[in-house]
């Protein structure tokens, strides 16, 4: 599929790779959130009555995250909404959790959770599409 040699470049860089970016500039170089492993479908919810606008030390992206999470929003949607890489959003969420501005609700692993009723609801919901 790849016809041209990538040459002596970075191993990730070729036609299939995305644009070259410097995404972690926003997080001051931090690539690991203080709390590990928010799932792509973990729900993020802003703490009620939070007013991130008045808080010092937050970047605009932090504030937008809080606004987007006024209603429960999943991590993947937040990252798409902010047009930021998921890993970057995880770090920013870690900052917000440390300040008590949001809570993150990890989904239970599917092997534990979707019980019979949930599977039934999914099937009937799909049939209704």
């Amino acid at each position: 599929m790849r016809t041209e040699s990538p040459g002596p470049q970075h191993e990730w860089l070729d036609a299939a790779a995305g644009p070259v970016v410097r995404p972690y500039t926003l997080t001051g170089g931090r690539v690991r959130p203080p709390v590990d492993g928010f799932d792509l479908v973990a729900f993020v919810l802003a703490t009620p009555a939070t007013d991130a606008a008045g808080l010092p030390g937050l970047q605009p992206e932090h504030r937008r995250l809080v606004e987007l999470a006024r209603t429960p929003a999943v991590l993947a949607d937040l990252a798409a909404g902010l047009d930021l890489a998921v890993g970057v959003v995880r770090v920013l969420l870690g900052d917000l959790i440390a300040r008590g501005l949001v809570t993150v609700h990890q989904p239970p692993a599917a092997v534990h959770l979707p019980d019979d009723n949930i599977l039934k609801a999914v099937v009937s919901g799909l049939r209704a599409l």
């Binding site: 972690y24 170089g29 479908v41 599917a110 019979d116 039934k120 999914v122």
Partner: protein
């Protein structure tokens, strides 16, 4: 709104539940097409960042400006009801992105492997991946216009599928066809758990 909630005034908004379903298959098998056909919103993209140092890196301090690259993942959403959503994630198409698959697959309900009869072997890595991790999956044979037609039995044979893995024909462009593949998957998950197969 077909149901009445009784706890509305009692508590803050309940946190819904989101289930992950992976849409896998070889390059060009129709993953993005299927996600688009099924999603209630224009499919979104999310990105993961790849760094040369790999995923063991904890800190890029001092190298914040170092160039890296991203891999995009398509995803879409189906709202089942106000408490339950299904997210469809198209898997990155290349082997070197397996570490992203692990993240996608963690906690997933199951997967759809799309197969193209012109390039059946392209679906082997996906099938192997889900088999090895015990993640329930179904195989959808995407019937492109002009695609060579094989019997399902011949495809099953060629893919060396376990007899209990559902194999269905589908048209990834068609929402009704795609939803039947997802239903097949959820019923397969229920069967694997020994639960009665839900009837819609």
């Amino acid at each position: 709104m077909d149901s009445v909630r009784f706890d509305r005034q009692a508590a803050p908004a309940p946190v819904p539940l989101a289930l992950k379903i992976l849409i896998a298959g070889g390059f060009g098998a129709g993953k993005t097409t299927l996600v688009s056909a099924l999603s209630e919103v224009r499919p979104l993209q999310t990105e993961e960042v790849l760094t040369g140092a790999g995923v063991g890196t904890d800190d890029l301090f001092g190298v914040e400006g170092k160039s890296t690259t991203t891999v995009a993942m398509d995803f879409g959403r189906i709202t089942i009801n106000e408490d339950l959503q299904v997210y469809l994630f198209g898997t990155p198409g290349q082997d070197r992105f397996w570490f992203l698959w692990d993240e996608l697959a963690f906690g997933a309900l199951g997967a759809v492997v799309l197969a193209d009869t012109r390039r059946l072997a392209d679906s082997f890595p996906s099938i192997d991946y889900f088999e090895q991790r015990g993640i329930p999956f179904v195989v959808g044979v995407n019937c492109f216009d002009g695609a060579r037609w094989f019997s399902l039995a011949a495809v099953r044979d060629a893919l060396d599928l376990d007899p209990d893995v559902p194999l269905v024909l589908c048209d990834a462009r068609d929402r009704q066809s795609g939803k039947l593949v997802l239903i097949e998957l959820v019923e397969h998950v229920a069967r694997q758990r020994g639960e009665p197969v839900p009837v819609g």
